[in-house]
Structure formats: structure tokens, C-alpha cells
């Protein structure tokens, strides 16, 4: 569907091409495990962010998918029409370019480019990265993810004319897809619980997980991430096995349980603090709790107020809300299904 509330542009653009982008282009991620492609394909719409764990990101097939019923002919016609409007009947001053970029390593790379002569090949889709083969740099940033942008741009400078694009690089239509880290914002990195750490913490050999208030930070209102507030230890051998197969249904379930335990630790710590009763949403701005409230409230302030009161008075209800929010039961059923 065409997007509303578009950026106001200083020159005439092509709504037809923008609509074609929005309607027909999707980022497709097909995870791989043990050399096999998984069937649970992830499709990312224009403007969306999807979060992937590092191993899935680094192994998956990543491509731009074109809708089956998309007509390349319609974009070619719109392309020619627009080119005529800006004074270039040949259409050669426009290109469609795919860029990949990393916000952490601060680079942008050009991955593909089409002009009016080879635009037909877009119909086949665009393979950005293929499992087991050399990947472009923007498909190797496993810890922070990447952004992929498809843009129609002017490739040459034209004679300036009011209301029309003339500067080289002016973009006419654009869509972007973001692959982020699953814990981005929450900043959760479980720590290995090995023999030495068990001794230091005074816990037995059969303990699987153990949360401890972060001794170097640990102030709830000043904590922006889970790591800031809690050191969450997980048996080192189990942690290594979970990391080796993150998308396996049982692994996904256990990772979700670990994450939920950390959230429970935070929520219960907040509700048990007598000063927390006086806390307002403004006090929480930018904090970990603010992020949790935003997630379950879909950024709606009245909902955030409501859930803040729930944390104060019935923390177990907030924990169940969060369990619902991250789809725990579905992961459980999928995991049980694997056992049959």
C-alpha cells in the first residue's frame, strides 16, 4: 500500500514510482541452519525494522523480493514519463540504486545499480547476500545490523528549473529496510556462568541462570539497558550451545525464557522499591523502564501511564503482559512440536 505522510519535497517527484516501490519491494531474509535454508522466511516491508540475532544475520540469504504480480512495465512507463517531465526523454539521467549501510561502522556501500536499459532484470529480485558465499560488508555487520535503501536518483546535473530536480543525486523515490540486533535498545548480554564464577557467587553446579544487580551501576532510573541494571549469568556450556543454534525452536524458547527472567528481575526490583510509587513517566525518560513501557504500549502515552501503574501495584500483571507481547506461548508450542 502507498504510504501516507510522506516527506515534503522541494521539487516534483513521481508518486507512481514511489507507490511502486512501497507496494512491490520487500526485504526477504531466509535463515539458514546446518547448511539448510529454513522455511520461516522473514519479509520486511518498506520503512520497517526487523531484529535478528547475530548468527541468523550472518548466515541468512538476504534479498530484495519483488511481488509476483508486480509489473516492471508500469515502472518503466512511469520512469519515461517522469524523465520527459524533467526534460530528458531518453530516461538516461535516472538510475535506481541499492545501498547498504552500517550506522556503527559509518559506511555506505553501493550494492546494485539499474538504468532504464537494464531495469527489466529487477523483476528477478536482488540477491544481497547468499549463505556460504562471500558477503558484502553491509551483510557482515552482525552485531549492529544494517540498513538497505533502494533509491531512484538523478545521475547528472540538469539545467536548474523551478519545481524540478536538477542537482545530481536528487532522489525521486526511496524505500528503506532495516535489520537490527534483537536486543537493540534493551542491551542484554547474558554472561557465562563457569566454575570460577559459581564459586565467586556461591551457587551450585546445577544452577542454570542467576541474576545479580550490576555492582558497577545498578541504579534503576539511570539504567538505559538491561546490562546496566543486571548481570545475568547463564551456564557457560548451555550459553555456547544456544549461541550455536539460535533459531532452533528450543533454543529460541530458552533464550526467550532467559530474557523474560531478566525483565521479571527488573520489574520486581522496581515495584519493591518504596520510592518507585512516586515515580512519573517523565522521571523514567530514556531509561530501561521507559523502553519497556513504550514497547508494551506501542508508544501511546495513556497506555504507558496505565502500565506504569500496573508495575507499581501488580507487577505480575505487567510481567504477563510482556510475556504476551513477546509471544512466549507460540514459541513454547513450536518447541513442543519439535519434540514430537
Amino acid at each position: 500500500m502507498a504510504k501516507e505522510n510522506r516527506v515534503v519535497r522541494p521539487f516534483q517527484i513521481s508518486d507512481v514510482i514511489q507507490d511502486w516501490f512501497d507496494t512491490n519491494l520487500k526485504l526477504k531474509v531466509q535463515p539458514v541452519s546446518g547448511g539448510e535454508l529454513f522455511d520461516d522466511i522473514i519479509l520486511v516491508e518498506s520503512g520497517e525494522t526487523r531484529r535478528l540475532d547475530a548468527k541468523t544475520f550472518i548466515d541468512a540469504n538476504i534479498s530484495i523480493d519483488i511481488e509476483d504480480n508486480a509489473e516492471i512495465k508500469s515502472i518503466i512507463n512511469a520512469w519515461k514519463q517522469y524523465a520527459r517531465e524533467i526534460g530528458d526523454p531518453s530516461g538516461e539521467v535516472l538510475s535506481i540504486v541499492l545501498y547498504g549501510s552500517s550506522s556503527y561502522l559509518k559506511f555506505t556501500e553501493e550494492l546494485y545499480r539499474w538504468d532504464i536499459k537494464n531495469i527489466n532484470s529487477l523483476k528477478e529480485g536482488i540477491l544481497i547476500a547468499e549463505a556460504g558465499k562471500e558477503r558484502p560488508r553491509s551483510a557482515r555487520t552482525a552485531h549492529h545490523g544494517a540498513k538497505y535503501e533502494i533509491v531512484m536518483v538523478l545521475t547528472e546535473e540538469l539545467e536548474p528549473e523551478s519545481g524540478l530536480p536538477w542537482r545530481k543525486g536528487s532522489w525521486i523515490a526511496r524505500c528503506e529496510f532495516t535489520l537490527g540486533s534483537p536486543l537493540e535498545g534493551f542491551g542484554f548480554n547474558p554472561l557465562p556462568l563457569d566454575k570460577e564464577k559459581r564459586r565467586e557467587l556461591g551457587i551450585g553446579d546445577e544452577v542454570f541462570k542467576y541474576p545479580r544487580r550490576n555492582p558497577y551501576n545498578g541504579e534503576l532510573l539511570e539504567s538505559e539497558t538491561l546490562d546496566d541494571f543486571v548481570e545475568f549469568y547463564v551456564d557457560s556450556e548451555s550459553l555456547a550451545r544456544l549461541s550455536a543454534a539460535p533459531r532452533h525452536p528450543q533454543s529460541a524458547l530458552i533464550q526467550t525464557e532467559i530474557f523474560l527472567s531478566a525483565i521479571e528481575y527488573v520489574v520486581l526490583s522496581a515495584s519493591r522499591n518504596p520510592d518507585f510509587q512516586e515515580i512519573t513517566l517523565n522521571d523514567l525518560s530514556g531509561s530501561l523502564l521507559d523502553k519497556l513501557l513504550r514497547q508494551v504500549s506501542v508508544e501511546k502515552k495513556p497506555e504507558m501511564e496505565k502500565w506504569l501503574n500496573v508495575i507499581k501495584n501488580s507487577p505480575e500483571k505487567f510481567i504477563s503482559k510482556f510475556e504476551d507481547f513477546i509471544g512466549y506461548k507460540s514459541k513454547m508450542i513450536k518447541s513442543i512440536g519439535e519434540m514430537q
Partner: protein, 250 residues
């Protein structure tokens, strides 16, 4: 591939230790700390037993330590800290150019580098933050514009020439604000010809802080409608001069 990384809490602990205890501000303490606290890990999805070779960085690090040791003998007021960053960023980029992107994207790797190879430089470069008890952000690598080795790497990456030279990275005198606010943090730093031309112009026809900020703001505004990734040096220079003339004569 196997490589060493440092957990965030260890990085905070190291920062707290060097803040509280001046005796711990030594290369030897940093070495011992990194041996004790750094963990060996694998790149995501890799089962290769080969280990990351950091011998080039080790050599670069000892060169940087020598530079810092020499500078510590002269009055701090006479030291141009940004010039020093300009001189060493190319060395850092060159010595890390074979490191896989998967590893460069891991903040734990930069935390390890910060403690193991750059602690002398960071503590020397950021003495004000150290005195204010605010040194941790330079070791944490949460933010790529604060982590010292990473920001050095990005500065060199932004203006490296086609032959792998880094002359422009050290061409702008007193360029702390220039690099930090107008190259590394903004999209200009990702369009190499534009970043090169901007650095060239600032080194030859230096704009004062006020004008520089106006020009940078003008370029950032243009980014919202124009992508400059395809510009060559000539086109980029013309663009910057055009922006400059509009802010000079609004």
C-alpha cells in the same frame, strides 16, 4: 575466526580502577587486566579455529605509546591533541584493514583494543574526562563516535585516498570539532569524495567555527533531498563552495 573481546562490565571496572587509582594508569596494568579479563570468542557463524592476527596493531600501538611518552615530557598547553589523532588514525586504519567486518562490528572487540592497546593514549588524550570521573565512555565502544580507536578508524576510513594514503586525515589543524561534528557523526563521513573535499577546503581555506558550522548545517540540509555518494572530488568541492557562498551571502 577467534578474537578477543572485553565485556562491558569489565570495561566499566577498568575505567573505575584507572579513575580511582593513579598507579593503575600504566601500560603494564592494562596488559595484565586485558590478559585476566578478555575472553576469546568466535565471529558469528564461524567455526574456524584460526585466530585474529593483531601483530600489525601491536607494532602500531608501541609506536603510539612512544609518541605519548615523548609528549608527556613537554607542557600540555603546547600539544595539539587533534593533530596527534590525525597522525595516528591512518596507522590504526592500516593495521586493522584485514580485520573481518564481523569483528569490527563487535563493541567488545573495540573495548579490548581500548584497554590492551590504547589505554595510554586514551588516558593522555582525555585527561579532563579522567579528572571528572567520566573516562568510561571512551572505553565502552557503545557509541562509535566516542570509542577512541573506533573513531580514529572511522576518521581515516572517511578520507583515505585511492592509493590508501591518509594525508587528509591530518591536514586540518585544530580540527576536533570538524572531525567529530561535521564528518564522523553525519552522513558526509560516508561519502568519501565529499569528506575529502571538505577536509581539503578546511585545511587550505580554513573557515572559522561559526562559518564552518553554518556550512556543515547547509550540507546536512541538502542531504535530506540529495545523496552525495556518487560525487567526485570536483563536484564535491563545487557543492561545498556553493553552500559556503550561500551562508556567506544569505
Amino acid at each position: 575466526m577467534k578474537y578477543r573481546f572485553l565485556h562491558k562490565n569489565d570495561s566499566i571496572f577498568f575505567s573505575a580502577e584507572v579513575t580511582a587509582n593513579p598507579e593503575s594508569r600504566s601500560a603494564d596494568y592494562a596488559l595484565q587486566f586485558s590478559i585476566k579479563s578478555c575472553t576469546l570468542t568466535d565471529t558469528p557463524g564461524s567455526r574456524s579455529e584460526s585466530a585474529l592476527d593483531l601483530s600489525k596493531l601491536e607494532k602500531a600501538s608501541s609506536d603510539i605509546q612512544e609518541k605519548v611518552a615523548a609528549l608527556q615530557k613537554i607542557p600540555r598547553k603546547s600539544i595539539n591533541l587533534d593533530k596527534l589523532e590525525g597522525e595516528i588514525c591512518g596507522i590504526v586504519h592500516r593495521s586493522l584493514k584485514d580485520v573481518p567486518t564481523e569483528i569490527l562490528d563487535d563493541p567488545g572487540f573495540w573495548r579490548f583494543l581500548s584497554v590492551r592497546y590504547f589505554s595510554d593514549f586514551i588516558l593522555f588524550r582525555e585527561q579532563t574526562a579522567l579528572k571528572a570521573g567520566n573516562i568510561a565512555k571512551y572505553f565502552l565502544a557503545e557509541n562509535s563516535t566516542e570509542s577512541i580507536p573506533l573513531r580514529l578508524y572511522i576518521r581515516a576510513q572517511a578520507v583515505m585516498d585511492d592509493k590508501g594514503g591518509y594525508a587528509l586525515a591530518e591536514a586540518v589543524p585544530e580540527g576536533t570539532d570538524f572531525w567529530r561534528s561535521h564528518i564522523i557523526r553525519v552522513r558526509t563521513g560516508r561519502a568519501r569524495a565529499l569528506a575529502q573535499s571538505f577536509a581539503q577546503l578546511q585545511s587550505t581555506k580554513r573557515m572559522n567555527t561559526d562559518l564552518l558550522r553554518k556550512v556543515a548545517r547547509g550540507m546536512n540540509r541538502r542531504w535530506s533531498n540529495v545523496l552525495f555518494f556518487d560525487y567526485d572530488r570536483k563536484e564535491a568541492t563545487r557543492l561545498i563552495n556553493e553552500v559556503k557562498s550561500t551562508v556567506d551571502n544569505p
